[in-house]
């Protein structure tokens, strides 16, 4: 497989995952603002923008936090080069670049989804059809992932697809958790303090985790168990631990196919160790924020090592 094609596949799935998570973040934020005071709504939108790393870019264009403005900026604004539509465009461009490595099913899923989104986002999104657009983003990602699962050979290409998906997912979960925790910090002491459960509900919804979490914890909401769930639960497909176990498996597949390990395997083992040897108590002792920042940086080094070990660019 060409290094450039591997890069195309890796990034195609990263952008898809990123678009999906961004849509979910907007969905949760929008839901939150519907049931809160105006002050809280502003705070919520600000936190959405912070999570996406878009806050300062947004503030150079708007001086309010109206939901319509935030959603338009995040979804489609030309002032924001990292908008969701352009993420999907990049996912599709990468799919075109790697067209010979994906099946017709996968191509059609991503291409049709992109065509639908392009039409939906041709005009500013109104609150009345916001959910339609966000649902379409999630659907495109879901359909493509499903077509991938159902039609692609389990070979090198598949491994790069999975690596892209789960590397991005781990990054996004960590970021969401970090921003929410950071914002809540002043009003929060570690164990047992009654929390604004609405805020935590948003965190869970942003990760499609509310149902699973509630089911496992019979409605109990506290920072410790939510962090435990999102970081360490190996049954939850968006947790850091789960994402890393998928990455580990796929890197092992690559090592087997290529008849040897590379630098990234070392990094992966080290990261695994940092994750597996800890309990949620250790994480809180260290400081959740510090833990997550370290995790995000480690995740980035793994991405860089994948690119250089598998000759994405040179």
């Amino acid at each position: 497989m060409l290094g450039r094609t591997a890069s195309g596949i890796f990034w195609m799935y990263r952008y898809l995952e990123r678009a999906e998570n961004t849509a979910r973040l907007l969905e949760a934020g929008h839901r939150m603002t519907m049931t809160r005071s105006e002050d809280m709504a502003v705070q919520e939108w600000r936190s959405v923008l912070t999570t996406l790393g878009l806050r300062s870019a947004y503030e150079t264009h708007y001086d309010d936090y109206a939901g319509a403005h935030v959603c338009d900026f995040v979804l489609r604004s030309k002032d924001n080069p990292e908008n969701v539509l352009s993420m999907l465009e990049r996912a599709r461009t990468n799919a075109r670049v790697s067209r010979t490595s994906i099946t017709a099913e996968v191509w059609e899923a991503i291409n049709e989804g992109w065509m639908a989104l392009r039409d939906l986002l041709a005009k500013p999104v109104r609150e009345s059809n916001l959910n339609l657009a966000l649902g379409a983003v999630r659907r495109e990602s879901t359909l493509t992932r499903g077509a991938t699962h159902g039609s692609m050979l389990r070979n090198e290409t598949y491994s790069f697809a999975r690596l892209g998906t789960f590397l991005e997912r781990a990054d996004n979960t960590a970021r969401i958790l970090d921003v929410k925790y950071y914002l809540l910090l002043p009003s929060l002491s570690y164990v047992g303090t009654p929390l604004d459960t609405g805020q935590w509900d948003t965190v869970l919804r942003s990760l499609s985790a509310e149902r699973a979490y509630r089911w496992l914890n019979s409605g109990r909401m506290d920072a410790r168990s939510i962090a435990d769930f999102l970081i360490f639960d190996d049954r939850f497909p968006r947790s850091l631990l789960f994402s890393y176990s998928v990455m580990r498996e796929n890197l092992a597949e690559l090592a087997q196919l290529h008849g040897g390990e590379a630098e990234v395997h070392e990094l992966m083992r080290a990261a695994d160790m940092r994750l597996n040897d800890k309990s949620v108590e250790d994480v809180f002792d260290q400081g959740l924020h510090e833990f997550l920042i370290e995790f995000i940086a480690g995740n980035q080094s793994i991405a860089n090592a994948i690119a250089s070990d598998y000759r994405f660019n040179s």
Partner: protein, 476 residues
């Protein structure tokens, strides 16, 4: 009288309105269909193309939007007998072209014999001095050729152009058939049509047969594309996919240890046969255009040392030249010892003063083309042009006559297309795709039919609003 008012040969209907032999089975089926069926199917086909991503980028458009090539649902049908006669002519022509290339880059017997003036290639940028004295693996220059044919009567097929550079459109030939079979399965069980779907396999086999000496039994084939912004990217990806070959860009290739190698996830791996879809000029920045980012530095050295097959061979573009074209009947006779089975369209070379005078006197009746032009650009179609356009073109022609040839405005055959008002005749041409290897010449039955969608228009190029049709050769 303009081109559209003349009486044209129609592929489907005889002048008395009866249905010609080739279309009898189709007509039987069509007359049994309910009203509105074709319109519904047209919409279905369009959505099929959009989602599969069969698109075409138009040169010179700013937003590089992916456009669909319009597809018409009425097939262009040729009988088995007609095809057998045609393919003999095509086979002969492609063999002659290949021999001609070899001769031009070796002893140049055709020039010594006085049949072809030396100036035609001496000042021609498509003629590459780097190829002189070098024989490509298997002696093959024109691995893939597209011969553009036009028809003016029941038995009158003529060659309009030879495309020996990097002819495109074969993916449309394949996808048009797939679409038709998906839309009208019952039609194909009723009318027996020779299949085209094995073209990619035949291409892979033909390319493998041209692998350089020392390559393994299963040579590594790669398709070299300029990238996703190229107008034919879809086709490059499609062919690579169908052949099971790698789709590479220049940046993936590098000369390592005297071989052209591609950068894979486990290191560099040699390529034996490169089916390149970039022009000669961009192939090797060390040899040709030094600004090129699309090619591979040093590939020409490897090529000349016999380390890789490049298809088509560099320097074959000279046979696309329209001035060379005008000599094709002589060229065919010179190398095959037989009269050309497929005639040329009459051609005036404007470099010749007598011809130039005739052309200038008759501009309003003629089609004038640039010698090196392609894609329907930079040409004048006298009968459909305004006085002002003709006047402007006359100035260009007088300034550089050697750059032009002229041909009569042909009475191109028509074939019905489906319009809102029912079937209506439109002008068509036909581009069969021809493979050449040491094992022989291999022609896939049919080819790509291009159709001018505007009433009366003679320009079928997809970059100028032309469409395509599925092209059938009957299994009779």
């Amino acid at each position: 009288m303009t081109a559209s008012e003349k009486q044209h040969f129609d592929e489907m209907h005889a002048p008395d309105g009866s249905v010609r032999e080739a279309y009898r089975g189709y007509q039987d089926w069509l007359s049994g269909q309910e009203d509105g069926m074709m319109r519904r199917k047209t919409l279905e086909a369009e959505s099929f193309f959009r989602k599969t991503g069969i698109t075409f980028n138009v040169y010179g458009e700013d937003d590089a939007e992916e456009r669909l090539i319009p597809f018409d649902m009425v097939p262009r049908i040729i009988t088995g007998g007609e095809w057998r006669r045609l393919s003999k002519g095509i086979d002969q022509r492609v063999r002659a072209l290949n021999a001609f290339m070899h001769d031009l880059y070796h002893r140049q017997e055709i020039i010594r014999s006085g049949r072809l003036p030396e100036r035609l290639f001496r000042n021609n940028s498509a003629w590459l001095p780097q190829m002189v004295g070098f024989t490509p693996p298997g002696g093959v220059y024109t691995h893939i050729t597209g011969i553009d044919l036009v028809r003016t009567g029941p038995d009158e097929f003529m060659v309009l152009e030879d495309n020996a550079r990097t002819p495109s459109g074969v993916s449309y030939m394949l996808e048009n058939r797939e679409t038709m079979m998906a839309m009208f399965p019952e039609l194909f069980s009723k009318v027996k049509v020779l299949p085209v779907s094995d073209y990619p396999r035949r291409l892979a086999k033909s390319l493998a047969a041209c692998a350089p000496e020392g390559a393994s039994d299963k040579p590594t084939i790669a398709v070299l594309t300029p990238g996703i912004y190229n107008s034919a990217y879809y086709e490059h990806a499609f062919l690579a996919d169908q052949m099971g070959a790698e789709l590479v860009e220049g940046s993936d290739l590098r000369v390592v240890d005297g071989k052209v190698q591609m950068r894979t996830t486990v290191g560099f791996k040699p390529v034996d046969v490169l089916y390149r879809r970039v022009d000669d000029d961009f192939l090797d920045p060390l040899t040709f255009n030094s600004e090129s980012m699309l090619g591979v530095p040093g590939i020409m050295d490897v090529y000349r040392a016999g380390g890789i097959t490049i298809a088509n061979a560099p320097g074959t573009g000279i046979s696309d030249d329209k001035a060379i074209y005008s000599f094709m009947p002589d060229i065919v006779e010179f190398y095959t010892g037989e009269k050309a089975l497929l005639p040329n369209v009459d051609t005036w070379r404007c470099a010749d003063p007598d011809s130039l005078k005739y052309v200038l006197d008759n501009l309003a009746e003629l089609v004038v083309k640039e010698v090196h032009g392609s894609g329907g650009y930079g040409m004048l179609i006298g009968p459909t042009s305004s006085k002002k356009e003709i006047k402007e073109f006359r100035a260009k022609l007088e300034a550089d006559p050697g750059n032009y040839i002229a041909q009569p405005t042909l009475s191109l055959s028509t074939c019905p297309i489906f319009t809102k008002k029912g079937l209506a005749p439109r002008h068509v041409d036909l581009r069969p795709f021809v493979l050449c290897s040491p094992d022989g010449v291999d022609i896939t039955p049919g080819g790509l039919t291009r159709v001018a969608l505007k009433k009366g228009s003679l320009v079928v190029n997809s970059s100028q609003g032309g469409g395509t049709k599925d092209s059938w050769v009957l299994d009779d």
